[in-house]
């Protein structure tokens, strides 16, 4: 179809934003439709992804992890991208698009800081002014990334509202956009928000799945049985899922169970599956109370600490095409340690949720897991938690709680 990008995924999606932004959303959609068909644009994007970001990223057969899990596990190494996560795929693409639209100023929200760093990086490269909104709790948890953004020339705007995490950062960015829409492009960091963002971000992240699918076919001569990715807003997951949509492959999204679904302190709106609602411009799965007030999420990983999720995931869930489950803070932390010891890879706490799920769930011979980012940014938080959890018991106490292992596979 030469029509526009999708605005709806079943009943989900839409554009629930102040009228002031509606023309900007239409302009963005038109610009993307044009750019993605323009060979000059796509060639430039491809070159940057190859020469600057480092794509294609490796597909790595994790042998010791496979042995521990009792099945073959491949990791798609998005942690090896420049800046250390998949976020740069989207940030570079949108920054190029902003340049093309003639918008000199960029704003973005960030939770883990990975999207903020990726956006600040793209803005430095393309000579764009850059302002990043970040909750002060996340600034504490992800300090190295705050420092990186500063070095890259971005201004980090601390957000004090609410729980001082990703939801509030996103609201603050949208308010900035409402006020500065003429000069500013908002680089939303995940496959959520009002149309056309979910489709735009998916288009820019599907490179993960396209590469992985071809790499796995070449290596194994077959498709994986399961594709597994963590879900915050859902961009790395939709990126790796999309090229497998028509294949006989199980798609599993792993949300944050935080301190446990029963405690209410989690970030798992898809898993919980209550009444959908509207947050940040889209109708989708969301954590809310009976009046429709949005609830505060909780996760050890700043990137999954969000009460909403992209609308396409809600529809993939409802149609049964993908399945969503949740992993607790404790299990994610244990999986981070386990991958570090088994493979010499320290994953991001976000990605550790996907690793933990794989370790804990048998029923497959061949898993493809999206290792969405590296864990450097999390070191301080991880050490702090391990010290707390250790309580003088020594490292074995922590290791004992590692989920999965050969016996469970």
């Amino acid at each position: 179809m030469s029509a526009g990008l999708e605005h709806r995924y079943g009943p989900y999606g839409g554009q629930y934003v102040p009228e002031t932004l509606m023309p900007a959303l239409a302009e963005l959609e038109a610009a993307w439709l044009e750019a993605k068909r323009d060979p000059a644009f796509t060639t430039r994007l491809h070159e940057l992804l190859r020469d600057y970001v480092g794509r294609p990223t490796p597909l790595y057969l994790a042998e010791r992890l496979s042995e521990a899990a009792g099945r073959t596990v491949y990791l798609k190494r998005e942690d090896l991208n420049h800046t250390g996560a998949h976020k740069i795929n989207n940030a570079i693409g949108q920054a190029l698009l902003a340049k093309r639209m003639g918008k000199p100023r960029i704003i973005a929200e960030t939770g883990a800081g990975q999207h903020g760093v990726a956006t600040a990086t793209a803005c430095a490269l393309l000579d764009l002014e850059c302002v990043i909104y970040m909750g002060t709790e996340d600034m504490r948890r992800q300090k190295p990334n705050v420092e990186r953004m500063g070095l890259l020339g971005a201004r980090v705007e601390p957000v004090e509202a609410g729980t001082r995490t990703l939801k509030e950062a996103c609201s603050a960015a949208i308010r900035d956009w409402v006020a500065n829409v003429a000069t500013t492009h908002y680089i939303l960091g995940t496959a959520a928000g009002p149309a056309p963002y979910p489709a735009l971000v998916r288009d820019l992240q599907r490179v993960i799945g396209e590469e992985a699918r071809a790499q796995l076919l070449e290596r194994e001569g077959r498709l994986p049985q399961r594709v597994i990715a963590c879900v915050g807003g859902g961009s790395n997951a939709i990126g790796i899922f999309t090229p497998f949509i028509d294949d006989p492959v199980e798609l599993i999204g792993v949300e944050a169970a935080g301190e446990g679904i029963d405690t209410g302190r989690h970030g798992a709106p898809l898993t919980v599956g209550e009444r959908p609602g509207i947050l940040h411009g889209a109708y989708s799965a969301v954590m809310q109370d009976a009046d429709g007030q949005i609830l505060e999420a909780h996760s050890i990983s700043a990137g999954l600490d969000y009460p909403g999720v992209g609308p396409e995931h809600a529809w993939l869930r409802d149609t049964g095409r993908a399945r969503y489950e949740a992993i607790t803070d404790a299990d994610a932390l244990a999986a981070l340690q386990r991958l570090a010891r088994l493979e010499g890879i320290i994953p991001a706490l976000e990605s550790s949720h996907a690793i933990a799920w794989t370790l804990a769930h048998g029923g497959s011979e061949l898993d493809l897991v999206c290792l969405s980012g590296r864990g450097d940014k999390d070191l301080a938080e991880v050490i702090r938690r391990l010290d707390l959890g250790r309580g003088g018991a020594g490292e074995q106490g922590v290791d004992a709680s590692v989920p999965g292992g050969p016996a469970q596979a």
């Binding site: 934003v17 009228e19 509202a161 429709g292």
Partner: protein, 272 residues
């Protein structure tokens, strides 16, 4: 005939302003607490308001600047519920027509029809949903029409002409012109292009045109009316007064009265 509908009451309020622009102060429901917000609403009526815009506090108000955002957070912290805000509307409705301002998720949570029925049951006349643009509004508009509730749409300076015409044609009660490109909040001066924008907006609709966002002084209210508005909405200035004053009701009554006086005074230069 049965009792007048919400739409009728709003039309009557604009008509009875008789040549001067109707004054519509914004009230954050439940701020700083339910009892005080009722007193503030009554003070608006005492001060000479023609209608009241009653805000439902919401956790994530994307169209609001710092003052209204903070007031909403505070109201929620004090325990304000949607049911209580509706009761507040019902309590004010005998004094002046109430137009509820609620973000889309508040409406979705109860469902369109149920929400429209609740509004009517509480004698509330109209509904403004600042994050429900034209494309998303048809079902709610139908539900409101069925109950005689005016679903008031917003237009912004960024709204292109063809879109302005489509929104204007579907407006009920009045058309809400956002005076500036930005969120709610006081500003030093009105937007330079305001008169042009208001002229375009007024030409796009048959209902009265009310202007809001950024109007905080009697002089700005008068200037907005002179620039072509049939109604003037004042928000952050009054919410700030409610936050700062020792006696919020007395304070806002004075501000509203000064605004009403400024609107009643014959203008030096009447544009429309």
């Amino acid at each position: 005939m049965s009792a007048p509908t919400g739409i009728d009451r709003i039309a009557e309020a604009f008509a009875s302003a008789q040549g001067r622009a109707a004054l519509m102060p914004y009230l954050m429901g439940g701020f700083p607490d339910m009892a005080t917000s009722l007193a503030i609403g009554e003070a608006y009526a005492d001060g000479g308001a023609d209608l009241v815009e009653l805000g439902v506090p919401f956790s994530d108000p994307l169209a609001d600047g710092p003052v209204i955002h903070a007031a909403g957070v505070e109201a929620l912290r004090a325990g304000a519920s949607v049911a209580q805000i509706l009761e507040l509307g019902a309590a004010l409705a005998p004094r002046l027509p109430v137009v509820l301002m609620a973000y889309a998720n508040i409406v979705y949570a109860r469902g369109f029809e149920a929400f429209a029925q609740l509004l009517r049951a509480h004698a509330i006349s109209g509904l403004i949903v600042p994050d429900l643009p034209l494309e998303e509004a048809p079902e709610l508009r139908a539900a409101c029409d069925a109950e005689g509730i005016a679903l008031v749409p917003l237009v912004a300076p960024t709204t292109p002409p063809e879109r302005l015409a489509r929104i204007g044609a579907l407006a009920r009660g009045f058309l809400y012109a956002v005076s500036l490109v930005g969120t709610t909040g006081e500003r030093g001066a009105l937007d330079a292009g305001l008169a042009d924008f208001l002229a375009r907006a007024a030409a796009a609709t048959d209902v009265p045109l009310a202007v809001g966002f950024g109007i905080g002084t009697p002089a700005q209210a008068a200037a907005a009316a002179d620039a072509g508005a049939a109604g003037v909405i004042v928000g952050s200035r009054l919410v700030r007064a409610a936050a700062e004053a020792d006696d919020p009701a007395a304070e806002v009554r004075g501000i509203v009265a000064a605004m009403a006086d400024a609107l009643a005074a014959p203008s030096a230069e009447t544009v429309r």
